[in-house]
Amino acid sequence: MNLGRRDFLKALTVLSAGSLAAASLPSLGRLRAPSDKPNLVILVLDALTARNLSVYGYARQTTPNLDRLAARATVYHAHYSAGNFTTPGTASMLTGLLPWTHRGINLGGLIHEQFVDQNIFSLLQDEYFTAAFTQNYYADILLGQFRRGIDRHIISSSYYEQVDRPLLGQYFPNDPVPTYYGLDDFVFSGRSVPSSPFFAFLADLFQETASLEDHPQAGYPYGLPNNFFYSYRNDVAFAGIQQEILNLAQQSPFLGYFHMFSPHEPYRPRQEFVGKFPKLDMPFKKPTKFSTLDISHESIQARRMDYDEYVADVDSEIGKLVDGLSAAGVMDNTCFIITSDHGEMFERGEYGHITRFLYDAVIHIPLLVLAPGQTARADVTAPTSGLDLAPTLLHLAGKPVPAGLGGRILPGLGGRADSERSIFTVEAKENSSFGPLIQGTISLIQGHSKLIHYMGYPKKPETFELYNLQDDPEEMKDLFEADTSTASSMKEEMLDSLADANRPFVKNQSK
């Protein structure tokens, strides 16, 4: 038999995945009696900004499938993530706490130990079979922290096409955090210096990353999608989670968390989506104040085009997934939630989301909820937060919401719309998780007003900006000096909340 290197690596991973699956059989065997509680599925599309989705009014028709699904869903028009990158956004969604509380504030950071068992998996595990999968390794670190509450943790590299380096952490399911940092991101590191030069050298010899990652593949003119650890095909990954959900439906009720890496950068749409959209001069050339990258407007617009094409590709997979589950009857008793962990920005001299900015593009995320039996569209315009997912899921499961959770039950799913509530987003990746927040950006949304505070940046003054999102959705006109009454009341609330959040850490410091 002629077995190529690629076939060999695939066979190795299938075998290892099989052995891991066998190891988790006792938990899979925890069958439950039929229940009238709805199944809960959360589909997270990484770095999906609401700003670039036609379902939220974007000029390019990027999401025809979400548009179609919205006809029988509750659509949240002012939904905000609690952070502007994976760790805080995901941790807040899963714990119902703000980043300045759970402290998952750093790139690839961890939440503090006292909150590890306060997550949707642990809170629902007594009545629900819980399963989780993510292609995002930062999110997988968090799932590793939450592993006590997860009955089935599907390994991150389940649907890969080509690994960039050996992924050894999967062989140490009891020790996910040190194996990520000590092995997968260090021994064979592709992002910095590998700590094992000879092993990394051997690994390089036995892989063909370049041929798959950076060069055109069948149907993928820019190369295959890649999550910095392995290359994959979206159709294969989405088909894989569809099968997982169908399997989970055998042990109803279940909670399934599926966090896909796409449409995160690198933006690599399939051929059929390339050139799909006409060029548009959009939206506006915005000021580049505080930008650390200062990329040209033209370059940013080109990136926006790539992103939009990739979003359209991902949208087609969402459509196929939901249609497949509907055809199988799973949707009849499943509350299906489509959202993101944070947005993506293409403005002000920057693109992406590793930024100090908290403008709407990077924190305004989609939220669509397809409830069992829902046949008509409902729209919620009151502001909501990623924190609201945890209490809402508990409510849907018929469980009481613990007092410590920061979010609220979503309007339309048992909660009350409150257009004046305060929605915070925190960007603090440069701070120590164990100290007070002294450098970063905080935004506060109240009604149509949005206050942004930049604090502690080297060589930058302490700054506040105030925008009216109704009159000025592109956040072009700073009203902080003009609307002093709104500015001062929101500033006071923000600084008070920050002081409250910092208090335990200020005490620690002064000891």
Binding site: F172, N174, G182, F186, S192, V193, P197, S433
Partner: protein, 178 residues
């Protein structure tokens, strides 16, 4: 044929191993400490110790792998070529091979891609190793210097070997499911 007779003496093996271990452990520790400022932002001391244990265990296995690869030619080739001067010539090969690989990895991190093209890398790797080996064979002073270096580095095994054992124990304990 007795396989043990084909092996270099224990002291020669130990000296060559000391060079391998020193290069690998020092390299891993250097980059571990380089990462510490970012990791301490969110890792507790316990997590840091656990995180260190994996690269230390990997370096231990890596050093044994390289030693095994060096012992193969020592057993196959005529004794005078490699086995009888295993400490010096093993050290020369290790310095050449690992040195160039480490240099390439470091240069890439500082955005210098001089050694990234495969032909240039392989050429540099081969030439450096061959040159060091040639110098060790041709010049007595080089052989003496390499032997001296290898013998001096054995002192570090008192750190690296216990560190490896502790690391393996930490990994074992953290992964035992009771």
């Amino acid at each position: 044929m007795n396989l043990r007779n084909r092996l270099p003496s224990f002291n020669q093996i130990l000296s060559a191993y000391a060079v391998i271990a020193f290069m690998l452990f020092a390299w891993a520790l250097l980059w571990f400490f380089w990462n510490i400022p970012s990791w301490t932002k969110f890792m507790t001391l316990g997590y840091l110790v656990a995180t260190l244990s994996y690269p230390m265990a990997a370096s231990f296995l890596e050093s044994l792998t390289i030693l095994a690869l060096l012992l193969i030619p020592a057993m196959i080739l005529p004794a005078a070529w490699f086995r009888d001067r295993f400490a010096a010539r093993g050290a020369a090969v290790t310095l050449g091979l690992l040195g160039v690989i480490m240099l390439r990895d470091y240069l890439i991190v500082v955005d210098n891609f001089l050694l990234k093209p495969k032909p240039i890398f392989w050429l540099t790797l081969s030439l450096s190793t061959a040159l060091l080996l040639f110098l060790a064979v041709k010049f007595q002073w080089m052989e003496k210097a390499l032997t001296l270096l290898a013998e001096r580095l054995t002192i570090f095994l008192y750190i690296f070997v216990p560190l490896s054992v502790i690391s393996l124990l930490v990994i074992l304990v953290r992964n035992i499911t009771l």
